[in-house]
Symmetry: C2
Subunit: 338 residues, 2 copies
Amino acid sequence: MNENVTLSLSEVRELSESILMDNGFNQDHAHSITDIIYTNQLGDCHSHGLYRLFMCTESIQSGRANGAAKPTVVDAGPAVIRTNANDGISLLALHESLPLLIEKTKKNGISALAINNCFHFSALWPEVEKLSEAGLAAMAMLPSHAWVAPAGGTRGTLGTNPFAFSWPRQGKAPFTFDFATSQFARGEIELYRRANKPLPEGVAIDKDGNPTTDPEAAMAGAMLTFGAHKGSALSIMIELLAGPLIDDLTSKESMEAAEGRLEAPYHGEIIIAFDPNLFSGGKVDTNDARAERLFADILDQGARLPSQRRQAASERNLARNAVDIPRALYEDLLKLRK
Amino acid sequence: MNENVTLSLSEVRELSESILMDNGFNQDHAHSITDIIYTNQLGDCHSHGLYRLFMCTESIQSGRANGAAKPTVVDAGPAVIRTNANDGISLLALHESLPLLIEKTKKNGISALAINNCFHFSALWPEVEKLSEAGLAAMAMLPSHAWVAPAGGTRGTLGTNPFAFSWPRQGKAPFTFDFATSQFARGEIELYRRANKPLPEGVAIDKDGNPTTDPEAAMAGAMLTFGAHKGSALSIMIELLAGPLIDDLTSKESMEAAEGRLEAPYHGEIIIAFDPNLFSGGKVDTNDARAERLFADILDQGARLPSQRRQAASERNLARNAVDIPRALYEDLLKLRK
């Protein structure tokens, strides 16, 4: 039952684009979504690769996402861009805003992109890595749905609120991380439920706010943040910066508006970019070497850098010009073709 | 032995300023340092209140900190200020940079202040709260000394690397948090050692990289970050943004340069400020109400907001125009008068 199929890299792109266009996305959206799905699949990030095509098509089928939405890129201030995704998937809005974000960051030293009114299904790491490919450092944050209790709380108020960061390295893949501020991702709880396995302690509470290791009770209750009160504080910060700061929804507002429909969460996103050249007074080489000494000191003691495993998978798959995906997933994907 | 003395609020300021000036700080430094020490003591934050005067005077006595250093505020780019503290305590550099940081943030939407070449002893929350008093949101980060192991590592590479955030609330004290990315603060391990009490699990490793609950072995080994690999990733981000990004030292470089001297850690700091007015397209009231609904939902379930206890202490102490400090601390402080 663990049988895989091997797809060439161009087959991955073709499969993704054709499914998206068969299901109501125009070419621009199909292209920007496929770019990110491909990048995830290349790194063997199965949870955010081709598998996410289901969420994309569901977002159209729910009648809320617009597969032909044209984003409006607004130059809102010297160091701020506000892009209205106009109810499209976030990625075309990102794609159309990146050149201006890079230009503003190199001019100002720091700048930010707020994306409003978007459906968001994708991992954040490819978004911040795009900025590091332009020599910039970047962080990205967004809310989701109110499945997560604050520290000391009894019910869902916060989202799984991911936080991603990337740092450019000369001649190397960037230093990048991307994590949910919830202890577990929502999908992980679901996997435990399907496998009928108890959750670890500290991951969830039941509907009365009591600790539980029962995945069923956890789905009816709430998840907990990572890192107790510190992770909870960070998650609240993400609600504020990717919500009220940019005039967009909190996780609770987003969840209420979705009314239980199967679709990607709908809300805003904030990306902040930093230019090491301007911040360091032009001393990029000296400080690249300083960052490399930090990384070397981490690796030297047997610890891993956050994206090491994924970056190795990408290199391996690029070299063989192929990826493996489960046959069952492949067959389900083919059913989305029309 | 738990006897306290009660000092009026003006006595707190006078005691702090006179000790600083008796020990080699000029009036500008004494004033900017006292401002922060007073704010901490008012909130009953004893660890960062008058107690920190010892670290200030030690930093002068070690021969490295300059009590008369004049900061150089450099307008480094449209949205970036680089202030050279010129080997002074960080707080005068901060004080002299804040008006320009607020001006740049309101003009650009986002901007950043890098403070270089400073000795830093203070909690970060009063720094970000100053920006929220001007209606801005803000985050602040800095390295320290390499006492903390990365996730999966065996020795100190990272600092205790604090992260602080503040969000302005209309007619209320800001939402603020400030935490070390290490599981414990360095001083907490020392308190366990003095009390001859075992540490909780997951706080430290010994010099061979094995888990330990022995405070003595922990002091000789390394501390762990909060939140396992996620906290470790955040701590590395803080090293990068408050180190190589701004052409300043990592925690390891700072520790090596200190050569074991008793003094505040010497390195850089970064503060990032956001203007809710520009980011929200002028919809500050709507989004203040949205943030208040989030806070109300957290409080309604019996959870606390991060600074609630401190803010209540500040109000209480302001109303009675006094604070209590341990008599032993007071007597030790008097010995610093000359």
